[in-house]
């Protein structure tokens, strides 16, 4: 029975290949666009995350603080909102670090009688605290501590883009939703066209005693095949585009800054499943409408 339905479905798909090809292409395009958005955001999120991890506040202490003061300050800073980790960098450590960084100019240091560097704290924040306002507030709080001379925090330019990225994300969600719905309607429409072109056939099938499920099953199979095919093609197209772009980026040495990645297999499969479901749903909607309208009794 299933083989019969499958054979009928494939026969119909081939018979209406033009219409079906257009449907598959449309689904593929929708999948391509939706998944491109998702892929883009996954990677943007990666970048934001790595940036958030990288951001820190440096607090330089006054040169005349007592030897036990750093410990007090650390305690105070640790109690502040949003702080996750602090690290004390003594002026001694800082100098060594500087020397290793500037090996070539080591002669520069030999003339130094005294270490000119201050003691410092490196402060890292919990992720949620990483935005411009909170960083600024925290920095002010730290700066207000009596033994702290100066506070420094960098890379705040990324913070300005976060809002834009959020806006972009919202647009992405909206567009994805739109394409999802559009795909459903397109499949529904294709199946509807198939049904109307076969209205007579459906009626005759019913007259010779075919149950509705006998009429429906091949159409569902067609819808599912259309959806799955569109999903797979869209995914492949995205993968090829991704491959092209990422290999280009490697050539331009941008990749050193961040790693871009493709979907994990589960998400790829999920998206194909999703478009298969769209095929089924489109079929379901048009069948429900069609058979209800044509059931005279």
């Amino acid at each position: 029975m299933i083989i019969l339905f499958l054979r009928r479905a494939v026969k119909d798909l081939i018979k209406n290949r033009f219409l079906n090809a257009i449907t598959v292409i449309t689904i593929a395009l929708s999948v391509l666009i939706v998944s491109a958005f998702i892929l883009f955001f996954i990677n943007i999120n990666d970048i934001i995350d790595s940036w958030k991890k990288g951001i820190r506040i440096m607090a330089y202490l006054k040169s005349d603080v007592s030897p036990i003061e750093p410990e007090n300050i650390e305690k105070k800073i640790k109690l502040m909102d949003g702080v996750i980790k602090t690290r004390f960098i003594s002026k001694h450590d800082a100098l060594i670090q500087l020397q290793t960084q500037m090996k070539r100019q080591s002669s520069l240091f030999t003339t130094l009688k005294e270490n000119p560097l201050p003691d410092a704290f490196e402060i890292r924040m919990i992720r949620e605290a990483v935005n411009n306002e909170k960083i600024e507030r925290l920095a002010k709080q730290i700066e207000a501590l009596p033994s702290v001379d100066e506070v420094e925090y960098g890379q705040s330019w990324v913070g300005h883009y976060i809002n834009i990225i959020h806006l972009f994300k919202l647009t992405g969600y909206a567009l994805s939703g739109l394409f999802f719905i559009a795909a459903i309607f397109i499949v529904a429409n294709t199946i509807r066209l198939v049904l109307y072109s076969r209205q007579e056939e459906v009626e005759i099938m019913r007259l010779v005693g075919a149950e509705d499920r006998f009429i429906k099953a091949p159409l569902y199979i067609e819808g599912i095949i259309l959806g799955a095919l569109g999903g797979i093609i869209g995914m492949l197209a995205l993968y090829m585009t991704f491959f092209y772009i990422s290999s280009n980026m490697e050539r331009h040495l941008i990749s050193g800054f961040f790693n871009i990645r493709f979907f994990p297999t589960e998400i790829s499969c999920g998206l194909v499943l999703c478009s298969t479901f769209v095929g089924w749903l489109g079929c379901f909607l048009s069948l429900r409408q069609f058979l209800a309208k044509n059931n005279r009794i």
């Binding site: 019969l4 056939e201 007259l207 010779v208 005693g209 075919a210 009794i297």
Partner: protein, 227 residues
């Protein structure tokens, strides 16, 4: 075989109509029809065109629901049937439609096979049975042709083949010889008679009095929707 039919004939009717009326808007296509048809009978429903013959057949296979009255088919009350059971009601009938109702996008073979596919038979069985039925109507070699490439007589034969193949209890034939030459009409009628000889019930709607005179059968005469 014949013995069995004759016994049954005296028992319960396979089709009963009580006070059946059919309206199309204000027009009455059938008025107060009462009839009993027994299993194994050969029935003619005659009358001029527009008398309501096709309408009467349509009510039997629920092509339309009767406006008024009760119809029983093989123990099933058609006014009480749930729509899920309608396909099973229709499988009791083999129907030869006046306009054949062959699917023009399917081959002769597929048109006939459809009936068995819908019931859920195996492919092997379907293949054998369709070929044998096609042989019996003499169109074996046309199994791959499409209906519209066939003559009216050939299409009519295919329609009869499709009506027979599902081993129905009753054959309904609406003007089965309507537009045929005498020879084709004869072949078609032989097929119906063969089905009848094997114990089937046949109901033929026709306005052709000549045909009725030449063949045996019980006759209902319809005029303006009245028997």
């Amino acid at each position: 075989m014949h013995q069995r039919i004759d016994v049954k004939k005296t028992m319960i009717p396979i089709i009963r109509m009580f006070g059946v009326n059919q309206y199309y808007g204000r027009k009455k296509a059938l008025r107060d029809i009462n009839l009993d048809i027994y299993e194994g009978e050969f029935i003619f429903i005659s009358g001029p065109s527009g008398a309501g013959k096709s309408t009467l057949l349509k009510l039997l296979y629920l092509g339309e629901a009767a406006s008024h009255g009760q119809i029983l088919v093989d123990g099933v009350n058609l006014s009480r049937i749930v729509s899920k059971r309608i396909p099973f009601l229709r499988r009791k009938f083999g129907i030869v439609f006046q306009d054949y109702k062959l699917i023009s996008s399917k081959t002769v073979f597929d048109n006939i096979a459809l009936v068995l596919e819908a019931i859920g038979h195996k492919r092997r069985f379907i293949q054998k049975k369709v070929n044998s039925v096609l042989r019996s109507v003499g169109l074996e070699e046309r199994h791959n042709a499409f209906p519209l490439s066939l003559s009216g007589g050939e299409q009519q034969k295919i329609a009869v083949a499709r009506a027979i193949i599902g081993d129905p209890k009753i054959i309904l034939a609406d003007e089965p010889t309507g537009s045929l030459d005498a020879k084709s009409a004869n072949i078609i009628f032989e097929l119906l008679k063969r089905f009848h000889r094997r114990g089937g019930t046949v109901i033929v709607a026709t306005h052709d009095m000549e045909l009725i005179r030449k063949n045996k059968g019980r006759i209902f005469y319809l005029d303006k929707g009245v028997i």
